[in-house]
């Protein structure tokens, strides 16, 4: 019998939820940073000029690059800290989803223009 027809193995008890929670929270933070930097670049001329990493793309290049770098660094730190731990996933996921929803709202231009 080929291994591809074997049933999926039963659960690995050694897997804690820390690694998954680190990924989820950092993704929420990454999305929120994208929205926050976009608003900052739109409202502050100083921030805007400093976020032009690639002139043809304008400040969008800096907004996205900084958000992605901070997201990955945050993910790395959280992964290192929580990878072998069991963490309160319910609370962490609630924060991550709240950040995600907030990000979707904040990137909507009529809302972003309120700041």
């Amino acid at each position: 019998m080929s291994t591809s027809h074997n049933p999926v193995a039963r659960d690995d008890p050694s897997l804690t939820n820390g690694s998954g929670a680190a990924s989820v929270l950092s993704a929420g933070i990454g999305c929120f940073l994208m929205a926050a930097f976009a608003i900052l670049a739109d409202k502050s001329a100083l921030v805007k000029s400093n976020l032009i990493f690639y002139k043809p793309t304008g400040p969008l290049s800096g907004v996205t690059t900084v958000a992605i770098v901070v997201w990955l660094v945050t993910w790395g730190i959280l992964e290192w800290t929580w990878r072998k731990k069991t963490v309160p996933a319910g609370r962490i996921n609630a924060i991550a989803v709240a950040l995600l929803v907030l990000s979707l709202i904040l990137t909507f231009p009529p809302v972003a223009d309120l700041f």
Binding site: P7, A9, P110
Partner: protein
């Protein structure tokens, strides 16, 4: 039959990367839901798990390809500014949209939203793929993680849907034009 270089890139960005990603999203949601549901996931094999992993990795590649090609290839052509006093704006999509009240909203709302919200898709799906590869079938025992993964996968679908909708409409009203011409075939005139 011919196509310009910029139109071809727009096609690759919108159809090959973005469109395919959008199509794949609904499949990913179904697979993730079923594979990690404790009541129905006993029938799945290692082959299924490997398939979902490859499927999600392909989605991660498509999502990043879509945002990177959009931001660094198409967007500079879209936002290019004409020399002062130039009357023909057909080569400058952003200026063309903003020159008429009837179309300015496609930039001020559509592109302004699309250019940021689209990035939620690769961030979300990268996380979803990582968590699935790390936990696989065991995700059904981490109900809160499973819920978060499904929410982010859904958000990825919504974000790419917003970006896709506005991208298609903007390209309809003010297409990115120019660049060298690529001849696809030489049909004879009848």
């Amino acid at each position: 039959m011919q196509i310009t270089e910029r139109a071809l890139w727009t096609l690759i960005h919108g159809m090959a990367f973005g469109g395919l990603y959008l199509l794949a999203c609904s499949g990913a949601l179904v697979w993730l839901y079923q594979f990690t549901d404790s009541s129905i996931s006993d029938d799945f094999t290692r082959g299924h798990e490997r398939f979902v992993r490859i499927y999600l990795i392909a989605m991660v590649v498509l999502a990043w390809a879509a945002v990177l090609s959009g931001t660094y290839v198409i967007y500079p052509w879209y936002r290019a500014a004409p020399l002062t006093g130039r009357a023909d704006l057909s080569m400058f999509p952003q200026r063309l949209l903003m020159s008429r009240p009837a179309t300015s909203g496609w930039h001020s709302l559509g592109m302004e939203w699309k250019e940021h919200v689209a990035w939620f898709a690769p961030i979300s799906i990268t996380m979803v793929a990582f968590v699935f590869i790390r936990y696989g079938h065991d995700l059904r025992n981490h109900r809160q993680l499973r819920s978060a993964v499904l929410v982010f996968a859904l958000a990825s679908l919504v974000a790419s849907g917003i970006a896709g909708f506005f991208g298609a409409e903007i390209d309809d009203y003010a297409p990115v034009r120019g660049g060298s011409t690529i001849h696809l075939s030489h049909a004879e005139a009848k």
